[in-house]
């Protein structure tokens, strides 16, 4: 699903350089990425999603070489093929829970919002246990409920790849397990691939594989 070769990236003016010689993730695999803070885990997710462009090497997601796409094509690819789950949920306060879940469909011409999509959104909310909160403003939800809504948003377009950046980092232990259960169940339902950055080593046994960033060379140049 993901194929990375001789990836190199540095932020302009910063002393940091990310280098990933080889990384492959099979379709349907659940990969946990661990490593110390500042080692470049989030940067790696950004490069896979096409948010950032590598200085060297290439990133392939499925049959698409993301690193060779232009800006508009990368955005289009991202919204149709990749679901993002953020540590701080990043829901929009002024939208209801349902509108937040449907948001990708409203901001992309590549996705068409119709009755079946709405139905699927409600089913997702039902599966995540927050369908009763669909009309509530996002900010009125608890943190656990907000992350569930954020996961629904990431999953609704049925992306082949889910990128989760510390998705449970802001949650209490009970919610952490619950949210992860739900995320794994929905990823399995969709047959999607999951690449999750985490600091929480307790969660690692639940993943198919763990990639430690210490195995790459991410260091000051």
């Amino acid at each position: 699903m993901i194929s990375i070769q001789t990836l190199g990236f540095s932020y302009p003016g910063a002393g940091f350089r990310l280098q990933v010689p080889v990384l492959s993730v099979a379709s349907g695999e659940k990969l946990a990425v661990i490593g110390p803070s500042g080692s470049g885990k989030t940067t790696l997710l950004n490069l896979i999603a096409g948010i950032s462009v590598p200085d060297s090497g290439q990133v392939r997601v499925g049959e698409t070489t993301v690193s060779q796409l232009g800006d508009a094509a990368r955005r289009n690819f991202r919204i149709t093929h990749i679901g993002f789950v953020f540590q701080d949920f990043q829901l929009l306060d002024y939208l209801s829970v349902l509108d937040n879940v449907l948001h990708p469909y409203r901001i992309s011409s590549a996705l068409t919002l119709n009755r079946s999509v709405r139905q699927r959104a409600l089913e997702l909310l039902e599966q995540m246990g927050i369908v009763d909160l669909q009309a509530h403003p996002a900010h009125s939800l608890s943190q656990g409920e907000q992350q569930r809504a954020a996961i629904c948003r990431a999953l609704l377009p049925q992306p082949a790849l889910i990128l989760a950046d510390e998705a449970t980092g802001n949650l209490d232990p009970d919610n952490k397990q619950l949210i992860l259960d739900m995320l794994f169940a929905r990823v399995d339902d969709n047959g999607a691939t999951l690449l999750a950055v985490t600091h929480d080593h307790e969660l690692l046994p639940r993943f198919d594989r763990v990639q430690d960033f210490a195995d790459f060379r991410g260091a000051a140049t």
């Binding site: 990749i82 002024y94 509108d99």
Partner: protein, 392 residues
């Protein structure tokens, strides 16, 4: 675009306070100059219409503007007075007929216009109720006065004293409404019309009181000698003219000296008007003016002032628009996380721009709609507003 409008609508309704301030600012900036222009246009229309309907005006030498504003629009700035010798001058010319005006007093907030029945014929005023005034102390009221005071035929209204603390000044006179004029959409709607003699009674030149020859109360008599009886202040003066006391009303002094504020002068034709104007060019006592030329001069002054106001409005508008741009710019900074989120999800630049444009569009359309509604309300009420605010 509908999706962008939906999201934008959610955003602007969520941020109600900011949105309302922006809408109010844009509406005011757009509405103020348009409203000012509309009011000025309506003022000009009303002033010109009335002025063009009035061929000539004779008054005492002095301010032509005061003369016109008082005689045509019943403004409370009373011009220098002429007297009853003036109508004779016009009559003697054989070129026009005069309609006397004495506009000095008020009754329940409405100007009291002392005139003759010729005035109603000249202005083409129709009765909606009742009849013309026929007796001393009777009044005709304009349509707006009747509506505002809830009055009709048979009701009465009292003239306002000139000065509450001047016991030797003008006493209030209770007047009976003989008729109500039909709506004419002119200053006549806001006036109370009485016979000029009734106006002189209000002035104190005519009065009615107990018959001193028949009174049994000797304490009201100050002095009595050779058929002349002088009363003291105890003598009761009538403040209402009734069938029982009307015969006691009488005027003192020479009728030729009774005051008027102006004469409407109605010439036979343009030639007569020109000849008449020629006769008064160098007159030291009187001025004979064409109201439309006086109003033209007034409008020129108003438009010069309006140009200054327009310049101020332009500066205020620029400042307001800059503030609005600043508000949007600061809003974008505050929304950096939100914009970053939709970028990370995969929103295109075009869609991001469309979302922001939709928010601006909603605010501009709401402002334009509100401005339109205000302008429509202004248009519907402009005639009354101009009469109430400007031509009071």
């Amino acid at each position: 675009m509908m999706d962008s409008l939906y999201i934008a609508w959610r955003y602007v309704t969520w941020n109600r306070g900011k949105t309302l301030v922006l809408i109010a600012s844009i509406t005011l900036v757009a509405f103020l100059p348009l409203a000012l222009q509309a009011l000025l246009n309506e003022s000009e229309r009303q002033l010109r219409t009335r002025a063009l309907d009035t061929p000539l005006l004779l008054g005492a030498a002095g301010s032509a503007l005061d003369l016109v504003m008082n005689s045509l629009y019943f403004d409370d700035e009373v011009p220098a007075r002429i007297d009853m010798r003036a109508p004779a001058v016009i009559d003697d010319s054989g070129l026009a007929y005069p309609v006397p005006l004495y506009v000095r007093f008020m009754a329940r907030g409405a100007p009291v216009v002392g005139t003759t029945l010729d005035y109603f014929e000249f202005r083409g005023l129709q009765l909606a109720q009742g009849r013309q005034f026929a007796l001393l102390g009777e009044a005709l009221i304009g349509a707006e006065v009747a509506s505002r005071l809830g009055m009709g035929v048979g009701d009465s209204l009292v003239s306002s004293p000139d000065n509450l603390f001047d016991i030797a000044g003008v006493y209030p006179l209770k007047m009976t409404v003989a008729g109500v004029l039909a709506d004419s959409h002119s200053p006549d709607d806001r006036a109370v019309f009485v016979d000029v003699k009734t106006a002189w009674v209000i002035e104190g030149l005519g009065h009615g009181h107990q018959d001193l020859a028949k009174t049994e109360d000797s304490s009201v008599i100050l002095r009595q000698e050779e058929g002349t009886v002088t009363a003291n202040a105890k003598l009761v003066q009538y403040t209402e003219i009734t069938p029982e006391n009307i015969d006691s009303f009488h005027f003192h002094g020479s009728a030729a000296g009774y005051p008027l504020t102006a004469l409407l002068v109605v010439p036979e034709d343009d030639k007569a008007a020109a000849r008449l104007r020629g006769r008064f060019i160098d007159d030291a006592r009187y001025q004979l003016v064409r109201p439309d030329t006086v109003i033209d001069g007034l409008m020129e002054s108003i438009f010069r002032i309006k140009q200054v106001i327009d310049a101020v409005i332009v500066i205020v508008a620029i400042a307001t628009l800059l503030t609005i741009v600043l508000v949007f710019a600061l809003s974008l900074r505050i929304r950096r996380d939100e914009l970053e989120t939709i970028f990370r999800i995969g929103c295109s630049r075009m869609t991001t721009a469309r979302l922001l444009a939709a928010e601006i569009l909603i605010i501009v359309v709401a402002s334009a709609t509100l401005c339109g509604v205000l302008l429509w309300l202004l248009h519907v009420n402009s005639a009354a507003l101009v009469q109430g605010l400007i031509l009071r």
